[in-house]
Amino acid sequence: MERTRLMAYDDLRAFLAELDKNGQLLSISEEVTAEPDLAAAANAVSRVEGSPALYFDNVQGFRDAKIALNVHGSWPNHALALGLPPDTLVREQVEEFARRWENFPVPPVRRVSPPWAENTRTGDEVNIFDVLPVFRLNDGDSGFFLDKAAVVSRDPTDPGNFGKQNVGIYRLEVKGPRRLGLQPAPMHDIAIHLQRAEESHEDLPIAIAVGNDPAITLAAATPMAYDQSEYELAGALRGEPAPIATAPLTGLDVPWGSEVVLEGVVEGRKRELEGPFGEFTGHYSGGRKMPVVRVDRISYRTNPIYESLYLGMPWTELDYLIGPATCVQLYQQLKADFPEVQAVNAMYTHGLLAIISTKTRYGGFAKAVGMRAMTTPHGLGYCKMVIVVDAEVDPFDLPRVMWAMSTKVNAAADLVNLPNLSVLHLDPSSEPAGISNKLIIDATTPVPPDRRGRFEQAVHDLPETGDWVRRLQAVRKGKP
């Protein structure tokens, strides 16, 4: 596979052009309604071959609205975001993601004259509705949400620490011309920043960057350690430093190439009803009292492109955005303790279910690997079910995983049911919310001293099969 075709995009527009060149951008020029058309189209596109990105520029009632959806929402799009050929296999994309992560940290490059500095409004002149054509996604949503913006904040007790500056994607409910609701899950970095600000009765300055180059979004969607910089991961992913600029009001570091930058504060010690919102679990979040953002400055390109994503019943764009990063994170953390681990597929509902392939050193080993997955930082909120398979089973090859489950598992000894562990609140099966039993399914072949079953006579691929795969493929392509 050609892995060196690195191509870094400095902004969303450059990436949209590349998607278009590869037949992965569908422009809809006929007039559509903001609701229900935009969300319905983005909901539908995952069922269309290739699942391309969507671009709308003729929305009823708007003059200049430009909306990009499903930008990361297919394996070809994800490959192109990493500068890989669009037909790169899923497992290879995940492995390449992991390889690039090994180059972390790649310090960003600070650039002047960001394109979003073209237009500015401050104070009561800020009107989000004049700049962003927000629209509803699902019927039960309480309103209009920004759901793909990079939200930047610093640790108020250590504001000079670049690594502790966080860039994350948190949903934002648009509650007024300069007012937003913010969902920071307690385990997210921004919740730590907010807690520290609120303990000293202060507001938390934030910047919200809308419409970004694809690497920034991938990095912002990645669960990272508290003191690791998403910009330095974005640099590793794109293979060159990520361009950043200083936000004029807050001094926060924001992507240089953003379409729109909002700045303001999370108002300290204030909570207000937010939601429900159809979430990545395929269920609504319920309404909770959550923090509120006051926007004090908005900077934007002339005729900005509003980038958003549809989420709801998986798979949606969000699964492509978060799936590979989740696999890599879990893989790295497991590999540090257990070099026997071969691969991790944690792409199902952000890793609520994970499949791990591993060599097994002795009886009971696979179950220990499963338990370790549950105690990784990500596993604490996810990994409700872990399926462990032998090293020879590719966890991305679901028919093979089902084969392992159906032939290797005997419920008498292969299920480990662990009571009352932590899981994210959004898991609709947790009871109470945030607490769930967790299950390990050991679908590996038992090894001594765990002697069970009759697995001695396994059928293997013929030694000549690999050659024949290549020969048949060549014949099919009409080559000798």
Partner: protein
Amino acid sequence: MTCPRCDHSTIAVMATSPVPDVWELLRCARCGYAWRTTEPARRTTRAAYPKVFQLTQADIDAAVEVPVVPEQ
């Protein structure tokens, strides 16, 4: 007109369409539900609004804080 979600009668105009008189964005003063006037009836009218998403003052009062405001 009342709020489709909670039946409250105080509704504010949050925004109007850049092309005049095509739509408005409205928002309920009590529960914060927001909608565009051109959305389907299931999102814009109390009568057609799904029961499962309806809210009462008691529901609003009972909503939990996430994250919890730290102790003084």
